[in-house]
Symmetry: C2
């Protein structure tokens, strides 16, 4: 973080990176609207597809966009500027600064997860090396909710709401046509999104009955035994399993099926039904339950329009605006973290933190959020997640008075 | 259909069957509320899990349920009484009538698809054989939209809305992170639900770019060529493929992977990611496109709470009420069909039709709804489907003025 000296006047560049969310455009629009209020910021460039668009000078002139368009964009899922999964090489960085200087960019904002924070950090370090004055900001975003320093991240509340709704419906489906239903939920390293399935429960017999997160070693035999026990109790079983579940050697259960790896070294776990089918096949093999199904919730979790947490949308907008405000007014670099005030009533606040503190490593679920058996979440998690998700659909159920038999 | 002679007084039995929808409980509640208004109907029994609950005398006393509960149930997805996939055997039918007589049931309503209509028909025939006076009704329901005699069926509009929303989001996701994305949509014999993906398009370059329905022979080579052509044009490609696609010998593409068959002789196509993974694998094999993903939309299509077409909800309620009214007032048997008045403005009406006319065979998409190449829908389909789905989320897009390069 820098201390203010003189007003830094120049152009702004903003870009989006990583997996989309339904509120990432709230952050983009929050930043653009805030930038328009500061005379220090001249042009507002939007790079298409993150770093890739910067390297190819594929820039939109965002001052040419009407307020009406911006407000419509804010409510639209996915990254309106386009996204990318690319980490700049040293060579990229040299080229990149040439472009920043060429376009007189003094304010750079990169919306994304930990990989994007790392990219922003690298860019900032390169800027320092050549003594190029640049306000460099990471704006947090990830449905995985795994950024360090943050109580939670923009995108998570809405993704969690989708997952909770999906399990509410699927639990009712499974109650109507009993059997074992396994749903695979996104989240490469952290179980927060999978855990959100627990918010679907209303009645004591509601699913998901079992929840498996990447923070605990997953064992196929124990899994089959868990399913069998639930099935014996309720005559049915709904399972939430993270795509990122690992065995006791920390080897991904899914990765055995998938070979693709992106430039950040992450195996591609989504966009395939293989893990769900493997788990369903194993339950069939190890039990005599005939109806076993698996669905992979897939990209809908991060892009389904209309299922939005209002708290999430507001906070996503706020972090975008605050990043710009901090860059201009505090002459700072960094990231905007979301923190939570202690107490029963949900109240969030924002804090400016160093870029490096959110880069690279991700944050797992706290132990207090996972039960001892490693197959469910705790009340502490529910208390944590509920205010982030907001209101869920109302579900009715028959009182269920048995009819008297004719005499 | 019978002609009215004397008032038939007795108890009512209602049950739900087949795959759930988000509005099947509207029909249930419509029927129950209507029944409460007729003195001819004494007790209202709700059988749990369809025919299975009748055979085991597992009945709820639905007059014991409050109006508040009924209204909450109406808005709740999936079958509140529970569902079943079971066709009664001749032996079942003998037992079944014993139970109907034992419970003095004179009004029987079975909510479901063509298999359920067939079940209702068989029960009615059995009743006639033993000269047991019974008003026997099928109440239509299926997200597949494949019931004969109907312009469309309750459940379809909401399922179609979910599919359209899913593709709206996924198209934006694919636009942000380009590649090939294949989504598998429900619909065993008819392509109506897959076709609804086309409602997601707003801009000319929006996906789905290719739509494959079971009504046209699917050829893997032509599919790969189609994908390649779209990818060359737009740099990305979103595909909607029905789970029910068949080759030119009418053999299911998915069924090669799936062995399970239910008692109606239907192969279990849902609850597995195998077809999507096969298609994605084939694109990778036949093209040099690196990013190819597949999702199977799965059970969310029939059970996701909150994504409801208002037209669909209203009509589902109406057919339930009308079935009861027709049974009591017209002393009739049959099914309630939804028809559409000709003209630009959407207007539906209901007609009492014989049970047999909706039983057994299903209805495919009309030829006029499918393009000549067999890889898309026509404007006629869009005109047909749009009023059934109702309003979709608003999507924003940047005008996209390119920034001028510095001189």
């Amino acid at each position: 973080m820098k201390t203010a000296k003189t007003k830094l006047t120049g152009n702004m560049l903003i870009a989006q990176s990583g997996g989309p969310t339904v509120v990432i455009n709230q952050s983009l629009v929050g930043a653009v609207l805030e930038a328009k209020r500061h005379s220090e910021i001249k042009r507002i460039y939007g790079a298409r597809h993150g770093i890739k668009g910067i390297l190819s000078e594929d820039f939109l002139d965002l001052k040419k966009e009407s307020a009406q368009t911006l407000h419509a964009i804010a409510r639209t899922p996915s990254a309106a500027l386009g996204s990318v999964r690319k980490k700049p090489t040293a060579e990229d960085c040299v080229k990149l600064f040439g472009i920043l200087q060429k376009y007189a960019v003094r304010y750079f904002f990169y919306i994304g997860g930990n990989d994007s924070a790392e990219t922003a950090f690298i860019i900032n370090e390169e800027a320092k090396k050549v003594d190029y004055e640049l306000r460099c900001f990471h704006i947090p975003k990830t449905i995985d909710n795994d950024l360090r320093e943050n109580d939670h991240t923009p995108g998570y509340g809405s993704g969690a709401k989708f997952v909770a709704c999906a399990f509410m419906g699927d639990n009712l489906d499974n109650r109507a046509l009993p059997g074992v239903k396994i749903n695979i939920v996104m989240g490469r390293h952290a179980g927060f999104l999978t855990a959100a399935s627990a918010l679907a429960r209303i009645y004591p017999d509601d699913g998901p009955h079992l929840i498996y997160v990447p923070e605990r070693a997953f064992d196929l035999e124990r899994f089959a035994a868990d399913v069998k026990a639930v099935y014996e109790k309720y005559g049915r079983c709904v399972v939430a399993a993270s795509e990122g579940i690992v065995d006791k050697e920390h080897k991904s259960i899914a990765a055995a099926f998938i070979r693709e790896v992106d430039s950040h070294g992450n195996a591609q776990l989504s966009g395939s039904g293989a893990l769900g089918d493997l788990l369903a096949g194993y339950v069939k093999l190890r039990t005599d339950i005939s109806r076993v199904r698996a669905d992979t919730l897939g990209y809908l979790q991060r892009s389904f329009p209309g299922v939005v947490s209002q708290v999430d949308a507001r906070e996503a907008r706020a972090v975008g605006a605050l990043a710009v405000k901090s860059a201009v007014k505090a002459n700072a670099d960094g990231s905007i973290a979301i923190r939570r005030k202690p107490g029963k009533k949900y109240e969030a606040y924002f804090e400016l933190i160093p870029l490096i503190s959110v880069a690279k490593e991700t944050r797992p679920m706290p132990d207090a959020f996972i039960n001892d058996e490693g197959n469910d979440v705790t009340q502490a998690f529910l208390d944590y997640a509920r205010p982030l998700v907001g209101e869920l659909p109302k579900i009715g159920r028959f009182k269920g008075t048995k009819a008297t038999k004719p005499s």
